[in-house]
Symmetry: C2
Amino acid sequence: MAKSGSLGALVPLEIDRENPTPLHEQIAIGLREAIDKGRLLAGSRLPSTRALSRDWDVSRNTVLHVFETLVSEGLLESRVGDGTYVADRSETEADIEPGDPPVDRNAAGYPFRSLSRRGRNLIAQSHGDMSEKPLPLMPDIPDLRSFPMRSWLRLMNEVSGRLKGNILVNLTNAGYEPLREAIAHHLNLTRHLDCSADQVIITTGSQQSIDLVARLLLERGDPVWVEEPGYLGARAALAANGCTLLPVPADGDGLDVDAGLARYPAPSMIVVSPSRHYPLGGRLSTERRQALLDFSRQSGTWILEDDYDSEFFYVGGPGPAISAKDRTGRVLLIGTFSKTLLPSFRLGFIVVPQDLADGFARARSVIDRHPPIFEQLVLSEFIRRGFYAAHLRNMRKLYRERQEALVAALDSAVGYTPPAHELASGMHIILPIANGADDRALVRDLQDRGTVARPLSIYYSGRRKQSGLLLGFAAFEPDDIAATQASLSDLSRSIDRTRFRSPEPQL
Amino acid sequence: MAKSGSLGALVPLEIDRENPTPLHEQIAIGLREAIDKGRLLAGSRLPSTRALSRDWDVSRNTVLHVFETLVSEGLLESRVGDGTYVADRSETEADIEPGDPPVDRNAAGYPFRSLSRRGRNLIAQSHGDMSEKPLPLMPDIPDLRSFPMRSWLRLMNEVSGRLKGNILVNLTNAGYEPLREAIAHHLNLTRHLDCSADQVIITTGSQQSIDLVARLLLERGDPVWVEEPGYLGARAALAANGCTLLPVPADGDGLDVDAGLARYPAPSMIVVSPSRHYPLGGRLSTERRQALLDFSRQSGTWILEDDYDSEFFYVGGPGPAISAKDRTGRVLLIGTFSKTLLPSFRLGFIVVPQDLADGFARARSVIDRHPPIFEQLVLSEFIRRGFYAAHLRNMRKLYRERQEALVAALDSAVGYTPPAHELASGMHIILPIANGADDRALVRDLQDRGTVARPLSIYYSGRRKQSGLLLGFAAFEPDDIAATQASLSDLSRSIDRTRFRSPEPQL
């Protein structure tokens, strides 16, 4: 077992005898770096100067000189009758000896000190917990009380009898086969796809879907179009995987494909929410859909179709998915049950081109295998027996009423009427705020009065942001929505009624 | 919108007019590369020679010359009255036109052709589905019929009433707080830890735990000790994340720390299964545990303690976890409920040093948020009310009886008695096979006779492998175990009875 005598070997110093820099200086540089980078931990004991002079093939005086220098710099400390130690500069990382109580390292640089670069990058993308209380008008959450919990439980008890044998050991990593079949069937009906069950990969939701896609299809540094403004979860997962984000403006017709091609003509992937742009609410126009498909076919660019909110249309419908018209196998579609059922159930899916299906399933075996069986089993029955379609129908009706309640509240409070493309679908309305007004501050003011909103500006990554407030209506009773009117009327002076009439973000 | 006329811009060619290579040759090289790397997809139409001569600022004759060259090479193809296309060399990727049926690209190189390098690397680590039928003597699976499904369902129905409000929207990404508390309490009691609930990160199992640890703490290329032989899932997740695997031999006392330090003195992380080495079955000796802790303290090396199988001890106990003696916050412990409850429930955890807890939780928001709430809610009650501890006690008793049945069957069939360190704990026994004999072939022979085993050799990454058969006993009735005796006796000639007496793998 290596004891302190071999520490020199553990911290290999590059000593270059041809280098004009004096040896003691080279050694000092090497040790400073080893301490800075944490290869030599605070509290660890250095070998004797004798041992180090032998290890490094330098005179003992040279080592002594280096030690004195580093002690004077506060990097090392000398203890009488004991030896030389790496000093504790964090002031919380006490000299560590076996038997001491655990060290609390809530020090400067926390929590990044010991993480890898990619770990730091990953954490830097965090968009935090979503653990706020669901108060009106919090966007992005479905009505929680409408979830048919009793049907769900009844199914759960009923299908529990099937939980035996092979199914309890392990499933295929792509997910429970009957659930994949149920989803494929549902998508082929509602989204005009022509996919088979083996193209459906069950995930724990959109966040994992996007992370998985980035890990499998993109290299570090690969350029990816993201919508500006756009969904933060997608940006986070792509940036965490080292992709270069190229913000392409969106307007009332969704992603501005021409603008994207003019600015960034060679992306590796295009992330788009064509059914309903998040957060602006437009449906991607037919021309732009065709342009995306043409470009993808010509260039081989991947399209990641976030089919978010295709379920909640109140006027017209989402039309067929882009994936439905893909003939070259370059479009992947992601969907989630977080909005249509319940967020904390954590189930979603990716529909991948046939030739990627096996690869995605195999990757899962390395990353996390598959989502828990019980939820998959129940959901497959829930879809198969028509509960899911019925629930969607009920929610469409309910959400439309609630949308009307919010439209009425906004009209009374501030005299604002949202444009038609926003009202056609979705679970929130954006109240436009005059540019220059700080929508984050307005959100804080509202919060003090018991109303929850999200600032539109946070969904922009560029310097030019539009101000606005995302107001959700899906999860709240019309009376509770009406009750927010008082706090909304305070916003009257901040509103920009002109800006969203012809919805062209100036980017 | 960019049409084919702008394809020249989409495939930017580096034309260097100072370069002695003729222009037509430079263009040909650029196009060949674009086709090879998939930037120009098979079936895509090239712009006209006129357009390209303008885009590239070369004569039209030069472009024609290049086209002719590439057509003669089979990379391009000319269609009369239409234009020039990138040829389909895979012979399955037909000329693609809108309206054509979807392309089946089960071609050469599948499924790697369109994946990123890191995606290919990820998939290359796949260890496949675990969807085989659980037949005797399949190792690594718990007894499925003993799982207290009725208690589980009763709890599920009971706690479903708590599924309302905030909990349905989202949890903290680290997991459901009461479950984290229940696990911390259980580990502090049984593994002598002193951890708080906020150090416990709920994951979907060991596979995700290791992937998460690698992404957060290790850089691409970082050297990591793995046990030789050792757990394939850990190797897969580490290799998929670009780590350099350093195989360190293990013997009856677990990981040979001295051998590791002698060979690879500067790992970034050490992955070790100290309670019960996988697959050899030894418990890491006290001296080696101390040596690991000393080395970690001195060098700052991370230790990833896979606490796998600490629950199933029949003689003595696993002793305290290494994490329990960590004073420098460099040891992470991973645990799983896949072996103690059911594999397909997909729940596990990581216990991280205090100062990493927040970072791990934040990373989850980017990767997949949290495991489904329902399982977490039920499991927390299952542990809190003592069902979990009772189930472990019952299983220890049951598995011990089954182990005895397998020991008896092996004795009768081939006269082999396993060494004490293997019998002290775990869910399988290794039958040593003479080196040179192909244990994979023996596994296939056994399979033909209805008995399932795993070859020991697959758990080695180096050239020197030991042959053996992993025989599981936990999931099978004593009678079913006894019934395998006939097929086991066929192995008599292949067995190496001397090799495992003094368990020192020669590596």
